[in-house]
Amino acid sequence: MEILRFDNVCKRYPMGDGVVNALVDASFTINEGDFVAILGPSGSGKSTLMHLLGFLDSPTEGGVYFENRRLEDISGTQRARIRAEKIGFVFQAFNLLPRMSVFGNAKLPLAYHSNPPPDADERVRKALALVGMDHRANHKPGELSGGQRQRVAIARALVNEPRIILADEPTGNLDSKTAATILELFEELNRQGRTIVLVTHDPKVAERTKRQIHVLDGRIARET
């Protein structure tokens, strides 16, 4: 079942007198249960792609469809709602709020839910247990290692039971051993049926996924 579809999407930024073509004619579909890597060197346009996927940005041309709804038809507030309720974000720099406890960080998306579930705390605990961080619920992010922080960030992405998880270089700030455990976690989450899109420049990371979309100079070079 289709979740996200890109239909000849272009993204151009004005830069000085000229225009930068960050993304040209990108077309692909992400279906339920997919584990996709978007692979490309830095400057290839994969970050632009990621922002479009996460509704943080709008395309210059073409159509982005989420659950068959065209992005242009969705208001800013509704996009925020979709981000809060249907998309889980994982960032390279973890992006936890430093003054909040692990529990508070993981619970944050539920605060922006249009009707927060009554069992919110239970769901946060379950998500933290799933990533193996339930024993650190009352710690502050500063007291955790990089790998632990990324697990908390993943718990945060899971807490709303999203349709799709977007991970932007989730292992970029981690040593290779920790990175491997995080990738295992993603694989496990995918086996449980979760849809995951992973953006990376590292072919070794991309290898772990089921499907790779190669981006180069703003174009989708090939899909494998």
Partner: protein, 408 residues
């Protein structure tokens, strides 16, 4: 995001940035304190002034005193003897029956009693003084009309004078004291008057008196017959101005046209006080408003700084689903919480400041806690805080999440 968790979040942010929050609260606090204290001073002046006015006879009193005749009358000034008992009797006859006329004769002299002495302002009066200057006899009695007619050697003492001559325990009534080598019988002691501001009795002058019949004063104690004052109490404040004219006419005739007297009312004093009160309130308002504007700028500045510091946080919150409205709400709640705390703190400090000032400042000018200033100061500081918080909150809500996330 519901309001409760929004408030908790705001309070958490305040606690997380203690210095910044403290400075913001200080701004609001100073706004409230300056407003409450300045208004307190104005109110305090008015309160003690109006109480003192009523203890002096209030608005119904018309005072006539001696003054230098104008320069053009200098050559003929001797044609008038100044205020005399005859003037008072004439006024009594000519003014409407409901009016009270109180002639007052003054001698500064020493009272003796068994080795104790007291230098006082001895006043020769009639019983009218009780009505006009609001005196009451506490022990004994006031002197009678017969004693007045006979220039009897009787005296009524104020509590301070009585205490200095007889101590606290002895009853002065029925005992004798010595004035100018003559024995005077103490027939009464006045009520004790007190309007305390800390250790300061603003009505002390009402206890520091000694009354003898005016006839006794002129005939036996004083050296001339010139009165100090003739006070008239009108029965209706509306007749104040016409009474001033009547008194002026009668006295001018009796004084052979020499204007060696001055007729005055408290109305002028009231008007000038009302004027100065209006001015004080106006300036207090301006100072308060300026302080509040300063505190509002302080809050806005600190909130903007806090946004710059938290661009990344805003980006994260937006990426995981916060709407612009959520972010706006969060920052406004923080501003409200800060200014509320500052406002409450300001109220507490104002109470302390006013209490402290009352201990230091002379009683007549001691500030009072004015409820209206309290409420106005508090409400304004909170409103200023919220208004100052709105612009930064709007800026925060408009942040682009992508830029915000890249921000380091």
């Amino acid at each position: 995001m519901n309001i409760f968790s929004g408030i908790l979040n705001g309070l958490g942010e305040i606690w997380a940035h203690k210095l910044r929050s403290f400075l913001t609260m200080l701004c609001v606090m100073l706004g409230v304190v300056s407003m409450v204290v300045i208004t307190g001073f104005v109110e305090g002046m008015f309160t003690s002034w109006s109480r003192n006015l009523s203890e002096r006879g209030g608005l119904e009193k018309v005072s006539t005193g001696n003054t230098e005749p104008p320069a053009r009358q200098e050559a003929i000034a001797k044609l008038s003897k100044g205020l005399t008992l005859g003037d008072a009797l004439q006024l009594k006859r000519d003014l409407p029956p409901g009016f009270v006329v109180s002639p007052e004769y003054e001698v500064r002299t020493t009272l003796f009693r068994r080795g104790k002495r007291d230098w006082v302002r001895l006043q020769g009066v009639t019983s009218s003084i009780l009505a006009i200057n609001r005196y009451e006899v506490d022990r004994g009695r006031f002197f009678t009309d017969l004693e007045l007619r006979d220039s009897a050697n009787v005296v009524v003492l104020g509590t301070w004078v009585a205490e200095r001559l007889f101590g606290r325990t002895e009853n002065p009534v029925g005992q004798f004291i010595d004035i100018n080598g003559q024995p005077f019988k103490v027939v009464g002691v006045l009520k004790h008057y007190e309007l305390m501001f800390r250790e300061w009795n603003t009505l002390r002058w009402k206890n520091d008196v000694a009354f003898i019949p005016i006839t006794t004063g002129i005939n036996k104690v004083g050296r001339n017959e010139k009165l100090a004052w003739i006070n008239v109490q009108v029965d209706d404040v509306d007749r104040l101005n016409e009474t001033v004219d009547t008194i002026t006419n009668i006295l001018a005739t009796r004084h052979n046209g020499i204007f060696d007297f001055k007729v005055s009312t408290s109305e002028g004093e009231l008007a000038s006080f009302a004027e100065s009160r209006k001015n004080s309130v106006f300036f207090a308002g301006i100072i308060g408003a300026v302080t509040l504007i300063v505190s509002a700028i302080g809050i806005a500045n600190l909130m903007l700084a806090s946004i710059n510091e938290r661009v990344r946080e805003i980006g994260i919150r937006k990426a995981i689903g916060a709407t612009g409205r959520n972010i706006f709400g969060q920052f406004v709640v923080e501003a409200v919480a800060l200014s509320l705390c500052g406002g409450l703190l300001g109220m507490a400090v104002s109470i302390g400041a006013i209490e402290g000032l009352r201990a230091i400042v002379p009683a007549e000018n001691a500030p009072v806690l004015s409820t209206s200033a309290f409420v106005v100061g508090f409400v304004f500081s909170v409103v200023a805080g919220v208004l100052a918080g709105i612009y930064p909150a709007l800026q925060a809500s408009k942040l682009d999440p992508i830029t915000a996330l890249r921000y380091e």
